[in-house]
Each structure stands twice: as C-alpha cells, then as structure tokens.
Symmetry: C2
Subunit: 220 residues, 2 copies
C-alpha cells in the first residue's frame, strides 16, 4: 500500500506542478496578447483553458481515489488535503490568465491598455509567469525556502499594482474611463494570480514545517 500511495502522491504533486506551470505560461501568452492586441494568441489562451479544466477534474478524482483506496493518515493525509485545496488555486490562476486574454479579445482590434501603461503590465506579466514557475518548483520539490520566496515576488506585484492605481487616480490620466476600467480589472487579475501562487507556497510550508504562515494577502 505504502509504495502505491507514494507513487500516487508523487503523481498528484507532479500534475499539480504541471498545472501551475501551464497557468504561468497561459499568463505569459495572455500578457503578450494584451500588449500586442494579438487576437490569435488570445484565442489560443482561451481555448487551452479547457485543458486546465480537464486536468482539474482529473486531479479531483485522483485525490478522491487516494483517500478512498489508501486511507492515508497523519502527514500523508495532510498532503492529500493540501492537494484538494491547492487544486483550487491553480484552477483560479488559469482562469485569471483566461480573463486577461478575454480583455484582449473584447477590445480587439484596439489595444485594451494605453501604450504608456504597457510597461506596467509587461512587468506584472513577467512576475506572474515567474510565480507560476516558482509554484511549480515548490509543488515538485516541497522546498519551504523556495516557497517563502513567493512572498517577495508577491510584494513586487503589489508594488506595481499600487503604482498602477496611483496612475489611474492621477488627474493627468488622459485615456478616459473605458481604459481605466480595463486597467483596473487587469490589475486585479494579475494581483489575484500572485495571491494564489502565494497560497500554494503557504500550504507547502505548512506541509513541511507544520506551521501555516500568516496570510499576508495584501487585500486583507
């Protein structure tokens, strides 16, 4: 039983990691579609979200089967419960990339974001992709130090998000209300993407150390 459990658990962690990586690469392409008003790229992200959705169902069934057939206890059980929680986070990360792609599609052939704000989204996209990669590594290696680094990346994301609001609230904002609405929503999508990656890090830290780090969610 133990061998089967270990194999299945490793498979589950790998699948979760793969999904985090996919969410990151979806956010990468979504960001490119946004910056270049590239409809084809946006459509690609939208179509490929189905793949993440299918993997979600697969992971949910696997966690259930693990509980039902292996009846894990103690630390093993904690791992499966954490997987059930984290699958929601990777799912949301994928959905948020999808939302960014949908903004691109909605505004095409126009650019959703004024050119002078592009730099912010390029950087938020870069951080998001890197956090997707970090989450993937953390899921695969369960390295708590690596997991804690997600907080620093999240801080950088929050800084950019705050700057973005400063720009929006400035009397010199000259791109009108429609662009402000898009920029507001987009900013929130990137920020939430980062929050979910941080949440994965917290869960892994809890698994390894037994202590759940405080929720430093910038929103709370």
């Amino acid at each position: 039983m133990r061998v089967i459990y270990n194999e299945q658990m490793a498979g589950l962690a790998q699948l979760l990691g793969e999904m985090a990586g996919l969410a990151g690469s979806a956010m990468d392409r979504a960001t490119q579609s946004l910056l270049q008003a590239d409809l084809t790229l946006a459509e690609q992200v939208i179509t490929e979200y189905d793949r993440i959705s299918e993997m979600i169902s697969d992971v949910e069934e696997r966690t259930f089967a693990l509980l039902a057939l292996q009846a894990p206890v103690a630390g093993d059980l904690r791992q499966v419960v954490a997987a059930i929680q984290m699958v929601n986070d990777v799912n949301r990360m994928g959905a948020l990339a999808l939302h960014v792609a949908k903004v691109t599609r909605r505004r095409h052939p126009n650019h959703a974001v004024p050119e002078s704000v592009n730099g912010y989204f390029a950087e938020m996209g870069r951080i998001a992709v890197s956090m997707g990669e970090s989450a993937k590594e953390v899921l695969e290696t369960r390295d708590p130090e690596r997991a804690a680094q997600l907080n620093q990346q999240d801080d950088a994301m929050d800084d950019l998000h705050r700057h973005l609001f400063t720009l929006l609230m400035d009397r010199d904002w000259k791109y009108g209300v429609a662009a402000a609405v898009d920029v507001t929503l987009l900013g929130r999508y990137y920020e939430r993407f980062a929050d979910h990656a941080v949440e994965i890090g917290r869960r892994v830290i809890f698994l390894v150390t037994g202590v759940l780090p405080p929720d430093e969610d910038s929103e709370a």
Copy 2:
C-alpha cells in the same frame, strides 16, 4: 463510529452554513456602509472578518479530524471532501464583504459611489445577502432544487453587473476616473461573491445527485 461520524458531519455542515450566513450579513452591512459612507459600520465589518477567519481554521481542523479519525468512505468521504472545498468559498465570500467595507473606509468621509449608481449597489447587495442566505439553507438542507435556484440569483447579479459596465462605458459618465475605478472593483466584488455562492450550490448538487452541474460562471 457511524453515529459519531454523522454527528460530526452535521456539525460541520451547520458550521459551514453559519459561516455563509455570516458572510451574507457582512455583505449586508458592507453595502449599507458603502451607500451611507458609514465608517463605523465599515470598521465593524472589517473587525468581524477575524471571526470568519477563526471559523475557517476551526472548520479546516474539523474536516481533517473527521478524515483522520473516522476514515469515511464513499458518499461520506465525498461530503468531507466537498466541505474542504466549500470552506474556501465561504472564506472568499467573507473576504469580498471585507473588501467592500475597505472601499468605504478608503473614501470616507466621501461616498465611494456616485449617488446615481447607488441603486445598482443597493440591489447587488440585496441579491448578495439573499445568496448568502440561500447558500446557508442549501448547506443545512442539502436541497438540490434550492441549490439550483442560486443560478437564477446569479443571473440577476450578472445582469446588474453588465448594466453597471454599460453605465461606466457611456460617454455621459460624469463622475471621473477615480469613481469609475471604485465602481469597477466593487462590481467585481459583488459578482465574485455570487459566483462563490453558486459554487457551493454546485458542490451540494454533486453530493446529492452524483452529477456536477456545468460551471456557468459568467466569466468563463
């Protein structure tokens, strides 16, 4: 074992229901604070979120104990797994009420929302509160028809949300960019609150019927 399991599971469902009710009443007060620019009420919602957070940890520990000590199988196991998933939804519902209250606080002593838009938020607030109540009933009664009704309430919320965007995108919007940013974020908070309530309904339908209804999330 069976009796203990049933008791513990009923206790868990009741606690989840209570939390959904709390999230609904938090959204009620948050909406009032928003419409009346009432700082005291906003602070109350912000402080009371701590109570929801504590209940979250309590529920998480209980689900874990249930799995560890009772090793439920089949339908019983599905219930516990669903509880683990739904606790995240009620947590987010509470956090979204918190966000609304924080917008009130940030703009105090000004009103965050232009008077002519108040009616929209009053109505979105009303629907949110009612969905919190519905989610509570659904968790307590596990009535799949009641759960399906959450979709209709969500449709009403989505309609309002779309109208709100039409207002924002109108050239006649005369309240400036800052108000548009607040209205955009607030609209999203109410819409997400509704989505989480719907998600609880879907999980309950799955538990009772064995079929997970399609994700009709308006965003996807």
